[in-house]
């Protein structure tokens, strides 16, 4: 063993020089077959698909919950659901959509695409990637298991104290929620760390930060936001769990606790969270829309700055959820102003998209239709937000259906429509098949019309005074007609989504096979096969612009990216780390093999959280020891990864 093992000049070749390279790499990187291989996989593409599928299952569950609610609310005085059933449904609808669908679906995209668009072989932490998925589904199942006991959380996703304390919520409902959220927080934070380090370290040589796709900017900003905001809600839920089970009085007003502290901690997290669940979707649209307009995005730098600024400002507006709580005027005015200002970066993005359409040559594929709808609904959601940013208006509109309209325009309009469009765009890359365009059009129009029929009237419903979170309303409030319209629209929306799923199922079986680059797009993922090989790139590319595959046609001053010659990095499972600022080659990383440790650790964590739920301390101790053993096994330094001294040294 010589010292060259600690360092090495990476070999460079072309496929002509080394035609056996792809096969050697495939053998090194391929997932193992069978159930074991599926559980043990650390391949970001496989994990990305799992995130997408699982999040869609939760979308459907959350949607079913919503449809039941809309049946109950379709007419005044209905008795389809009892009050307790309705309250559990509306709470789980919010929890499911906001936590178990909205971020994970975007994680699915980012997981699949990051290494590909960055020109890398995998994410920075492949095992941690698998772990973030397993803990996500485990935490989701943990929270959903509450339904088996008829004890789903029923205090809303925002879970205000004191109603969430034992005195008013004696059952285990809130304990499921509190512990489940702390559990889910592990997944979220670990995933965010992975994205941040991947962006900092795994970019291909030459990919300076001004050459990154907007998806990367959006997800990175969101990940930084996650790292800084999730601890607030984890802490809040931990304190709630202590109040409920160990007699503390953080939020218990009858013992000098402060209910508003819950709201501050919760909203300090939850407001940044709403930007976290839209910025990556905006990034997907900012990347795909220009390609369908046959030109680069107008105002790339402005859009990047707007993305980062939105996340930063997102930490400074949380009190706008608390305008009615009796705050000092100065505080209300400040946060009101900040809430107006945060619309500005959104305006930047909106005008950038419109300018791209006006100076481009739009090609009206289904994906494009979704993106066009997205822009309009983004703006509707944005302006209704501006209305509620004004404190006096908010004092009338908060806690009415006007806010319900606002949140669904921003969440469905930005996240869901962005996701559906992005799925039509990237489905070929994920699966090797094209999603049917004819069924796609039907799917788009029914979804679009259904959504607007359901939610546009809700602005009116709010102005007519209907409060939120009510399981019924009396006849003499005059709210029956608008509610019926919304209920009908919600079913239409559901049919539209069903059509989407039908399209996916049909296309997976019989869709046209996708070439490498069906949309003639410029970014690196389209330089691989559809779907990509397990190692992504046989030769590490060298990047000279934002649009590597369009350089010849744009004929701009930049140099030319080199994709047909590059580092082979085939001494095992290897990837390249580059410097943070200039993306110059820095380290040859040794990547881990498939392993079941992340899965086993998740099972142990599930046991630990269950032990906390039922307050079985011996079970907790046992699970704790097993968790420790798993972590030690995972982190045990391995020679073949060159984490430690090579044999014969040290």
């Amino acid at each position: 063993m010589s010292t060259t093992e600690y360092e090495r000049v990476p070999e460079t070749a072309s496929l002509a020089d080394d035609p056996g390279l792809p096969e050697r790499l495939r053998v090194l990187w391929e997932n193992r077959p069978g159930l074991y291989g599926w559980i043990a996989s650390v391949d970001h593409k496989s994990i990305g698909i799992r995130y997408l599928v699982t999040s869609f299952v939760f979308l459907l569950l959350g949607g079913l919950e919503a449809l039941l609610m809309r049946i109950q609310l379709g007419q005044p005085g209905e008795h389809v659901l009892t009050p307790e059933q309705y309250n559990q449904l509306f709470s789980m609808h919010g929890i499911t959509m906001i936590f178990l669908y909205a971020l994970p679906v975007l994680s699915g995209f980012s997981n699949f695409l990051f290494p590909l668009v960055l020109g890398a072989r995998d994410m920075a932490f492949p095992r941690l990637n698998a772990f973030s998925y397993w803990t996500y589904i485990a935490a989701g199942l943990f929270m959903y298991s509450s339904f088996l006991l008829g004890a789903a959380p029923d205090d809303g996703w925002f879970n205000y104290a004191p109603n969430s304390l034992k005195a008013f919520s004696p059952g285990p409902n809130m304990d499921f929620y509190a512990l489940g959220m702390i559990f889910l927080g592990i997944s979220t934070m670990v995933g965010a760390a992975n994205f941040v380090v991947t962006v900092l370290r795994m970019r291909a040589p030459g990919m300076s930060i001004n050459r990154l796709p907007i998806l990367v900017w959006g997800t990175t900003a969101a990940s930084a936001g996650i790292l800084l905001s999730v601890p607030a809600v984890s802490l809040a839920f931990f304190m709630l769990w202590l109040d409920r089970n160990f007699g503390t009085h953080f939020f218990n007003a009858s013992a000098d606790g402060l209910p508003l502290l819950w709201q501050h901690l919760f909203w300090i997290f939850a407001h940044p969270w709403v930007y976290i669940i839209v910025l990556p979707a905006m990034g997907l649209v900012s990347d795909a829309l220009p390609i369908l307009c046959r030109r680069p995005l107008v105002g790339y730098t402005l859009v990047v700055l707007a993305t980062v600024l939105t996340m930063v400002l997102g930490f400074g507006v949380w009190v706008h959820h608390m305008f009615a709580t009796g705050l000092p005027l100065v505080a209300s005015s400040f946060f009101s102003g900040a809430s107006f200002i945060i619309a500005i970066p959104s305006a930047v993005a909106t005008f950038a998209w419109i300018a791209t359409i006006w100076t481009g040559r739009p090609v009206l594929t289904t994906a494009f239709l979704y993106f066009a709808g997205f822009i309009v609904m983004f703006v509707v959601g944005g302006v209704s937000g501006v209305v509620t940013a004004a404190v006096p208006a908010d004092l009338q509109l908060t806690d009415t259906y006007f806010v319900v309209a606002h949140i669904h325009y921003v969440l469905i309009g930005i996240n869901l429509f962005g996701v559906l469009g992005a799925l039509y765009f990237w489905f070929p890359k994920f699966t090797g098949r094209m999603l049917g365009e004819r069924l796609g059009r039907w799917n788009f129009w029914i979804t679009f019309i259904g959504f607007n029929v359901a939610f546009l009237p809700m602005h009116l419903t709010g102005l007519m005074g209907m409060p939120r979170r009510v399981y019924t309303y009396p006849e003499d409030l005059g709210l029956g007609a608008v509610n019926l319209i919304s209920s009908v629209g919600s079913f239409l929306l559901a049919i539209g989504l069903l059509l989407f799923l039908v399209n996916v199922a049909l296309s997976l079986r019989k869709g046209a096979r996708a070439p490498d680059n069906p949309w003639d797009a410029p970014t690196l993922e389209w330089a691989t096969t559809s779907p990509p090989p397990p190692y992504n790139f046989a030769l590490i590319p060298l990047i000279a612009s934002r649009h590597p595959l369009w350089e010849d046609r744009l004929q701009e001053g930049s140099g030319r990216s080199v994709l047909d010659r590059g580092f082979t990095l085939d001494h095992g499972k290897e990837a390249l780390a580059t410097t943070v600022l200039d993306a110059e080659p820095d380290v040859i990383l040794k990547m881990p093999a498939d392993t079941v440790t992340p899965f086993v650790l998740t099972v142990m964590l599930s046991a630990a959280f269950t032990a906390l739920l039922v307050q079985s301390w011996w079970m907790l101790a046992l699970a704790g020891m097993l968790i420790l053993a798993c972590i030690v096994a995972w982190l045990w330094p391995k020679r073949h990864l060159l984490q430690i001294a090579a044999a014969g040294h040290g």
Partner: protein, 200 residues
Amino acid sequence: MAEAESLHVGPLPVGSPQAKSSGWFGMMTLIVTEASLFLYLLFSYFYFAIWDTHGFLPARRPTFELSAPDTVVLLLSSVLVWWGERGARAGRRRQLAFGLAGGLVLGGIFVGVQLVEWAEKPLHFDTSPYSALYFTITGLHLAHVVIGMMVLLALLVWSLLGMFDARRYAPVSIGAIYWHFVDAVWLAVFFTLYITPYLA
């Protein structure tokens, strides 16, 4: 063209070279998020201090007899760990082992002294919001110290197994920076819980 040049690079390190390793960057993100956690804990403390109209601080303010020496103990432990890491960098295995062991022992003393202080307090966990915050803040910090001690123990074992040399000791760097972080958090916690009551 600059591109042609960077295809021809000198030798690149392979694997996990200390501060260039992915693990180091990962530890940085962990520190950011755990620092946020403590920020929100201290925010909660100050929120109560400002808005609790019923008198937040206890009659007996926390004293320095145990906490001040304990702070010194923890700072010293960081010095020892730092010294140990320097040994790793120089390939001096004994220095590394003693530095880690020393840090571990002093960490244990910190935990012990803190538990004594807890036992001596007339307050219980559920006495008042102040006590709940005091024990939650110091308790979560203590949990981080205990985890840090387990990290130091693992590093000690690995170093005794001969796993580190002067060119590869990334786990030591990563573990050490975690330990120093826990130390820095203590300074913020100490300032908030022990010093600010006397400033009001």
